[in-house]
């Protein structure tokens, strides 16, 4: 049962540099408090016992969305609702745009942050799967300077990342989607807004009718998000078809060994995962075709069509 939060020291750095100094001083005795939508419950449940909270909510320099050199950079303290409402995100990172509305509920997204979700690294959450699928880069800062960590090397275990105790996650960089890219985030949950029993981030890019880039990553299948590289390799160079997506679903789920818990057996999760691959690829391909047509007709607007998100029961 949750109880009141335990006593904790509370620091409010005025700059990122001050936050870095505080982390250097307190190391793993400290937790960085961003949106607090996971950390506060963990403290209430005594699953986290930081001696010091370093509250970064006032650090405006860590918030915002910008584009340069084909990359979309999102400050770690950017709130999820801000990213959800961002035209830049909708246009250039359609997979992220598809996933954001599925995170928790509206009141959670009011406070929750992009960096917080990735630093918390819940394997059933949406953003870790998105970051892994898109080969996002996570920028961490310490007194030694900045270090850029590819998403593939970020997630190390259940709620565990390769962030060192003296490092703070300051920014996440996503590659901007090329023309003809469509994306979908599919998930099955007991109730809307719950963590996914299985979730799938899917992105396809079409060029002249064939798949030129395919990205698939699962949430909820283990201690970390899981990339389906074999299925991606199968898809590239082929034209979208039901048979192709069926085979991709088989390849994506052949080698997986999902956990059992109250929400589902390994067999159930595997079956759901295969279903989500078929659905996700179909939705991403539809969205990619739509975006190709839109690109070709040079009508470049209305980012809403850039992504499709779905939240379905099996």
């Amino acid at each position: 049962m949750p109880v009141k939060l335990p006593h904790v020291e509370y620091e409010v750095p005025a700059t990122v540099a001050e936050a870095v100094d505080l982390l250097a001083e307190h190391q793993d005795e400290a937790s960085v408090l961003a949106g607090g939508q996971s950390l506060i419950p963990l403290m209430a449940l005594r699953l986290a016992r930081p001696a010091v909270l370093i509250d970064i909510n006032g650090l405006g320099e860590m918030s915002g969305v910008s584009v340069s050199d084909g990359r979309v950079s999102i400050g770690a303290m950017t709130r999820e609702y801000v990213a959800e409402e961002s035209e830049t995100v909708a246009d250039a990172v359609p997979l992220l745009a598809a996933a954001l509305p599925l995170i928790g509920h509206e009141a959670i997204r009011s406070r929750g942050t992009i960096g917080g979700s990735l630093a918390h690294a819940d394997p059933a959450a949406e953003l870790p799967a998105v970051a892994l699928a898109l080969d996002a880069e996570l920028v961490v800062r310490s007194r030694a300077g900045d270090r850029v960590v590819p998403a593939a090397q970020w997630f190390e275990g259940y709620l565990a990342t390769s962030r060192r105790p003296d490092e703070i996650l300051v920014e996440v960089r996503f590659p901007a989607a090329g023309p003809g890219t469509g994306a979908a985030f599919q998930e099955v949950a007991r109730r809307h807004g719950d963590f996914a029993i299985v979730g799938l981030a899917a992105s396809l890019t079409l060029a002249d009718g064939a798949i030129s880039d395919a990205r698939l990553a699962f949430a909820g299948l283990g201690d970390v998000p899981v990339r389906a590289a074999d299925a991606e390799a199968l898809l590239v160079g082929e034209e979208p078809s039901a048979e192709l997506f069926e085979e991709a679903a088989r390849r994506a789920t052949d080698g997986i060994d999902p956990p059992a818990d109250l929400n589902g057996s390994p067999e159930y999760r595997k079956k759901v995962a295969a279903t989500l691959v078929r659905r996700g690829l179909r939705a991403a391909a539809d969205s990619a075709r739509h975006n190709s047509a839109r690109h070709n007709s040079a009508r470049h607007n209305s980012a809403r069509h850039n992504s499709a998100h779905a939240h379905e029961r099996p």
Binding site: L5, G36, Q37, Y81, A107, I108, R111
Partner: protein, 155 residues
């Protein structure tokens, strides 16, 4: 820590421990017990209040984090004791039974309708999906919010 928070339009100064949630601050320090505390870990939605125009869970925010912010609680929707239009519509629709979840639902719906006055049933269901009610089966709650939206459109 000494903080000053604007609550329902009035500046309130207090000295609080960092570990105190906004929900407990409202209830214990300001005696605004209309904000209900249910699960205390962000699942039930009963403690929802509006901070700087957005619905948030006051059990997942520290009171010290609200310093300098504008907070609206359920008490702020009926400052003169008369029900606001959303509250009246929900009352007319028999939206609630035991009343425990009520303030959370009303605050969530209030923030949502302000941002989306033309929302339809599906959007309202989505917006309220993070609040749990153990009595009503939800339909009467949705009816109440839809009625409020319709009344506000019809002026």
């Amino acid at each position: 820590m000494d903080i000053t928070v604007s609550v329902n339009g009035a500046a309130r100064a207090a000295s609080v421990e960092a570990r105190k949630t906004l929900a407990d601050f409202l209830r214990e320090d300001l005696d605004l017990t209309g904000t209900h505390v249910g699960c205390e870990h962000g699942v039930c939605g009963a403690c929802t209040v509006i901070v700087d125009g957005r619905a948030v869970r006051s059990c997942l925010m520290l009171a010290v984090q609200a310093a300098g912010s504008e907070v609206t609680t359920i008490e702020g929707l009926a400052p003169d004791g008369a029900l606001g239009p959303l509250q009246q519509a929900m009352r007319d629709s028999h939206s609630f039974q035991c009343g425990f979840c009520t303030p959370g639902f009303v605050m969530q719906a209030s923030a949502f309708l302000r941002a989306h006055p033309d929302a339809g049933e599906q959007e309202i269901r989505e917006a309220l999906s993070g609040n749990i009610c153990r009595c009503t089966g939800y339909q009467s709650i949705i009816d109440g919010v839809l009625l409020a939206a319709r009344r506000s459109r019809e002026g």
